[in-house]
Symmetry: C2
Subunit: 428 residues, 2 copies
């Protein structure tokens, strides 16, 4: 066995130490499968003295990840620090410029700079792979880029933020409200340093934008992902949705429409009996739909040391085996600029509003919806013990634009209290 592959690892948090653990525990097996020895030679992290539960003896240390990226004794640079600017960006660019292949778990970096990095990699004759950036241990980048490569992809969907799914699941299970469970996640260490990345849907939006680029042959277009977080979801919404046979999930959906690429990351109702509806807790799920294959569903751990490191190492082993693909599955220069189609795909919506207990109130709401061209599939008014009653409406298919116009109109009726909650019902 010759031709050792030498790794530099920037970041020794959960993922980086997981990578070292796999390299230690499964060294023989990995060498047998890749036909080469894969060896970590140098690392970089913020705090050299911290005990990470893995042995760093024999590994060179660099305080500066960019210096690590340029070391002549590494062939492949692993970036598992995070952050879409600063050291992560600088070191990744430096690695490519220095002729190193790159494996990254950094969805934010790729969502913001994916096209530039893909071009840089190709002009340097290097590859940049990012299986760990989307849905943790699930090999979804590989399934989409390679496994479904013969398909015209028609839709990509995913529950890709475990923390949000954990909160929504626990709300249903325990009857506790969003704020209580948010605090529980904070205590359990389930939240990013900026929690809005999780509960605001941004982290999951980053991931969706990467899947879109591969699926539709378009340049990553994170700026045009319509993002809505889970912070407005109440226990009542979860109960009402349940009564109608649905569950609420923070669901990403990307599809190519006649008007362009629609990318949405928002809380949606999905049938409780569907694979997405049955996904409980912190697990991730991605649904891929293609013209030949139909529907493929992938389910697995979306975070954690072992699963994420498994995905990082899958990319490393690919490179060790000589598998060298363009970043988004085809040469970066051939990726089209995405034409964003916001609110293009019509769907039924769940609408919850608080209706004042006055004669004719419901008629006024119905008129506003009717005037906007929105027809009502079903409606429920719940019992109440104050002056306003919760009213649930499920509409027939309409676009979000039409719905938002109608919602604006509802404010003028004088019978609706506060802003209504509108959630898409996604056909899965």
């Amino acid at each position: 066995m010759t031709n050792e592959l030498r790794l530099g690892i920037a970041g020794l948090g959960t993922v980086g130490s997981g990578v070292l653990r796999i390299l230690r525990d499964n060294a023989e097996l990995i060498a047998a499968r890749s036909g080469r020895r894969i060896t970590p030679v140098a690392v970089s992290a913020r705090d050299r003295s911290r005990d990470r539960g893995v042995n760093l003896d024999g590994l060179a240390w660099e305080d500066d990840p960019t210096a690590l990226a340029r070391r002549p004794d590494i062939d492949l640079f692993i970036e598992v620090m995070g952050g879409h600017e600063g050291a992560a960006r600088a070191s990744t660019e430096a690695a490519l410029a220095a002729g190193k292949d790159v494996v990254s778990a950094n969805k934010a970096l790729l969502a913001h700079h994916g096209q530039a990095l893909a071009l840089a990699a190709e002009s340097a004759g290097r590859v940049i792979r990012f299986e760990a950036a989307v849905a943790g241990g699930i090999p979804v980048i590989k399934a989409l880029t390679e496994g479904l490569a013969a398909n015209r992809i028609t839709r990509v969907m995913g529950v890709m933020n475990g923390t949000c799914n954990y909160i929504l699941t626990r709300m249903e299970e325990t009857g506790q409200g969003y704020n209580v469970l948010f605090e529980e996640c904070a205590r359990l260490g389930y939240l990013e340093a900026d929690p809005n990345l999780d509960v605001g849907g941004i982290d999951a939006g980053h991931k969706l934008s990467l899947l879109s680029a591969i699926a539709f042959g378009t340049q990553v277009d994170f700026a045009n992902v319509e993002i809505e977080g889970i912070t407005a979801i109440t226990l009542d919404d979860i109960r009402h949705a349940g009564d109608m046979g649905f569950r609420i999930k923070l669901l990403g959906v990307a599809q190519m429409t006649g008007r362009g690429l629609e990318q949405r990351m928002s809380p949606c109702l999905v049938p409780a009996g569907s694979p997405l509806g049955q996904l409980q807790g912190g697990t991730n799920m991605v649904v891929l739909e293609g013209d030949a294959v139909g529907q493929i569903v992938l389910r697995g751990p979306g975070a954690g040391s072992g699963p994420t490191a498994s995905a990082v190492m899958a990319d490393v082993i690919d490179i060790a085996r000589g598998i060298r693909l363009p970043t988004f599955g085809q040469p970066a220069a051939t990726l089209r600029a995405a034409r964003a189609a916001r609110a293009a795909v019509a769907a039924p919506y769940y609408l919850r509003l608080s209706l004042q207990d006055k004669p004719g109130a419901l008629a006024k709401v119905a008129r506003v919806l009717g005037d906007a061209g929105i027809s009502i599939d079903r409606m429920r008014q719940y019992g109440h013990d104050d002056t306003a009653a919760p009213v649930l409406i499920v509409t027939h298919k309409c676009t979000r634009t039409t719905l938002d116009e109608a919602i604006a109109g509802l404010a003028g009726t004088g019978v609706v209290e506060g802003p209504p909650v509108a959630l898409r019902i996604e056909a899965v």
Copy 2:
């Protein structure tokens, strides 16, 4: 774009015509992704005159698939005829000997001759890929060989025969018996020419043996897959299992034990709420478990023209892109001969027996089980209107060997009518 990849396709049934359809419909997209034009140039099938709904103009015709395999104007041979001897085997061997790469959908061929074919491919410097041979459109070979390559695989499970899952699902839904639904499948064309390949568990056993080889780095060992079909499952079994919160699935399980490799394909009880338990109809599901990643679940269509052709074409595109892996993920010479461990892994069992309505009958049964060292977790005796009562027993964990000894002992009690049905309860 240079360096065209020229295909010869042997077999123009459901799969072969699906491949031609994808090549026609998605030619531009496939060329963009693989960086090469992929062109069918010659085909072979039994009946030249049959209308297959695809245009064969411009394609050379060979009556003999082996002649097709040797044509100097093809680079890659696609074998989608089926059968583990005869023309399928001869043409595949001829293709490798003639220096062609091979893509095969033929699980029987690979289950019986996988090691020899892998050696032949490597000595010829060619590859043989077989994504379509296991679980149709699900990219499971890729997920296991590449996506989970950094993991020590601990267990592989799968529902990989859609016809069996369709029958079991419809028995539950409709209350119709096995024989009625078997006839329905025959009418719908869901059965292989030899139906025992489906309902006898052989087809699914072939698939399991291929996954085992990749997962555990062992030579394909189909002969040691313990196979039991679904023909003995009754409506009562399905109802009783349901009463206890289980569903019955024809489930393949492969795991490496201290005593060697255990491979089983048999009807098992799985929790109704688990992903495997929720799998209804003809869909397939594969569960992969690794030391780093935990559990990954893949779900999708296990058969049909589009899905199977999608998998064939994924292999073709891999080869077009220069992805060249050993057949079972590592060089054939490094695969160890599998040491078969039959009945090694202990599990709880579901036992249904027909007990004569005599005083002391149940005590006799309990004594036989107790003497064999099998303890009872729960027991139910159902109402009855004749001289024998159905009795269900769920045992604590025991090996199949122990259980079979106890079952043999039950025959000697004189109170058990007919052979008991014993189904493993698999922890999923």
